[in-house]
């Protein structure tokens, strides 16, 4: 239907120009319109990327915000790797973790089906607050979450989802998709500019710049305990989503020029309106020519 509509608009514009109904003034108008349309199509707009899927691993670089204060009640904590063989006692109930800025939390499923959070920072990774005291954590900590409960963990920060497959890599992205939601022209509403699926083993990074130097700050959450993997939902503004894939150069996902023409309702409505105007102009012109032809014939007959 959309294709037919586009063809209809194109034929209308072409026939209007061909038939000579478009005069010099109109051509200037069309030119102005074309420039305006091209400018509006190429102007940068806000793009929200919504990424969802299932993974065995993802890592978030956290900021010190209330959203990142996680409930780690009954989780086990390893804060000294040399003592890793000792049996670890679970943390007490009502234990909350507050990260330091730039703490990276790598969340993964272990082969035993446990949910492991590895916290890493150049300084302290943050603090644990229990009902009794506050514990300052070192620069590297491993936390195993209790598996019996389902849990939703929200987060805010920059994210990398999955791992690029290589020797020894055994936790990867299993699948998912991204929807790019773009702001409509002249309006605050948004439309879905594109939707893309990922392959198993892809690695995803959302960047806020075209040069791919700075990762976008995103908000999202993971769900654990609902299946044996980690479900994730991430929302963030960005310029492009980088997908690394084994055996390829990888690729970038971003809204295309054509998706704006075909999917932005405002642009679609405007182009339909102008195509209809051209048709009307042609119809009026034909009608006018027909009238003047008859009037001339009548005048000749009268003479």
């Amino acid at each position: 239907m959309n294709k037919l509509s586009s063809q209809f608009k194109f034929v209308a514009i072409l026939s209007a120009i061909k038939s000579g109904s478009v005069k010099f003034g109109s051509l200037i108008f069309i030119l102005f319109l074309a420039v305006a349309v091209v400018i509006t199509l190429f102007v940068e707009r806000e793009n929200v990327y919504t990424i969802t899927g299932q993974t065995e691993t993802l890592s978030v670089t956290l900021t010190n915000t209330p959203l990142n204060q996680w409930d780690l009640s009954l989780a086990t904590l390893l804060d000294d790797i040399s003592a890793s063989n000792e049996k670890l006692e679970p943390l007490p109930g009502s234990t909350y973790f507050s990260p330091s800025n730039n703490t990276t939390a790598s969340i993964q499923v272990t082969p035993e089906g446990k949910y492991l959070i590895i916290l890493n920072n150049s300084g302290s990774v943050g603090q644990l607050e229990t009902s009794k005291n506050t514990i300052n954590l070192p620069d590297y900590v491993e936390i195993v979450l209790p598996t019996k409960n389902t849990k939703v963990i929200p987060f805010e920060g920059t994210i990398r989802i999955g791992e690029d497959v290589g020797n020894g890599v055994d936790t990867i992205l299993l699948g998912g998709n991204v929807k790019i939601v773009e702001k409509q022209l002249f309006r605050n509403n948004r439309y879905v500019a594109g939707e893309y699926e990922f392959d198993t083993g892809d690695r995803l990074e959302l960047y806020e710049d075209k040069a791919h130097t700075t990762l976008s700050k995103v908000k999202g959450f993971i769900q654990i305990g609902y299946s044996k993997n980690i479900s994730f939902t991430v929302h963030g503004e960005g310029k492009s989503l980088n997908v690394s894939r084994l055996g390829t150069e990888g690729y970038q996902i971003k809204p295309s020029f054509w998706s704006r023409i075909t999917k932005d309702p405002v642009i679609a409505a405007l182009s339909t309106l102008f195509a209809t105007l051209f048709l009307l102009m042609e119809f009026v012109d034909l009608f006018y020519k027909h009238l003047t032809k008859h009037r001339n014939t009548d005048e000749k007959n009268n003479k």
């Binding site: 790797i81 890793s84 082969p111 035993e112 890493n120 590297y140 020797n167 020894g168 890599v169 936790t171």
Partner: protein, 231 residues
């Protein structure tokens, strides 16, 4: 940064001129073995490179050779994305040579290598022939001249585990520190950098253990002896 990398690369691979007192070592075979394509197999070796960080006015590859018994040296190079790989044996004409030696490196891929950023090319030099896949003695390689104030990088293919390095020598005993995961780009050949200050190395043998934590468990440590000669 890219411009710097380009200039760096051009310096490395385009300037074979050496001062008269510098020792150049020749290839043991007539052919120089290297590959550059997407299908280069990446070995499962944990230690991919041990090299000194170079500064701007460097000239070319060198190996900081301590006094060794062996009459040959293997030099392997691999790019981080796994697309470039070279493995070549060099003959030492006389034994017990000490000091920086400059291996012949007649690569066909100067342009591609010159585009590689710092730490995106791993060098691994060890005594003996290149068929040894798990050398326990490593020599310090460098891209350019080395100064005392620099750091050395041990490039590790950790399989996305968390890596720690433990250095044991006359100056430091069981000093364990965290290594840094490389996050940018493709990390097919290696994914972690362990940095050590050059002045923390003692002349002679330095015992280094690479400790890895993966999925909440410790993997077997990988040990190597870095034979170091003072710069």
């Amino acid at each position: 940064m890219k411009l710097y990398a380009l200039i760096l690369g051009l310096f490395i691979f385009n300037q074979p001129l050496l001062a008269n007192n510098e020792l150049k070592i020749r290839l043991a075979k007539d052919t120089f073995y290297e590959e550059f394509n997407a299908d280069v197999p990446v070995s499962g070796r944990v230690i991919t490179g041990v090299l000194a960080q170079s500064n701007k006015d460097l000239t070319q590859l060198n190996i900081m050779l301590p006094s060794v018994e062996s009459d040959s040296i293997c030099l392997k190079a691999q790019s981080i994305d796994g697309t470039y790989y070279s493995s070549n044996e060099y003959k030492l004409l006389t034994k017990n040579i000490e000091g920086p030696v400059y291996p012949d490196y007649p690569t066909k891929y100067k342009d591609q290598l010159s585009k590689l950023d710092r730490n995106n090319l791993a060098l691994l030099a060890f005594p003996g022939d290149c068929s040894n896949n798990k050398p326990d003695t490593i020599f310090l390689s460098a891209v350019g001249e080395v100064s005392k104030a620099q750091t050395i990088s041990i490039l590790v293919n950790s399989g996305r585990s968390n890596v720690f390095i433990n250095l044991k020598n006359n100056l430091a005993k069981h000093k364990t520190q965290k290594c840094q995961r490389i996050e940018q780009g493709k990390r097919t050949a290696y994914d972690t950098i362990c940095n050590l200050n050059l002045d923390s190395l003692s002349v002679g043998k330095n015992s280094i253990a690479i400790l890895r934590r993966k999925s909440g468990r410790s993997l077997p440590s990988v040990k190597l002896n870095l034979m170091y000669r003072d710069v």
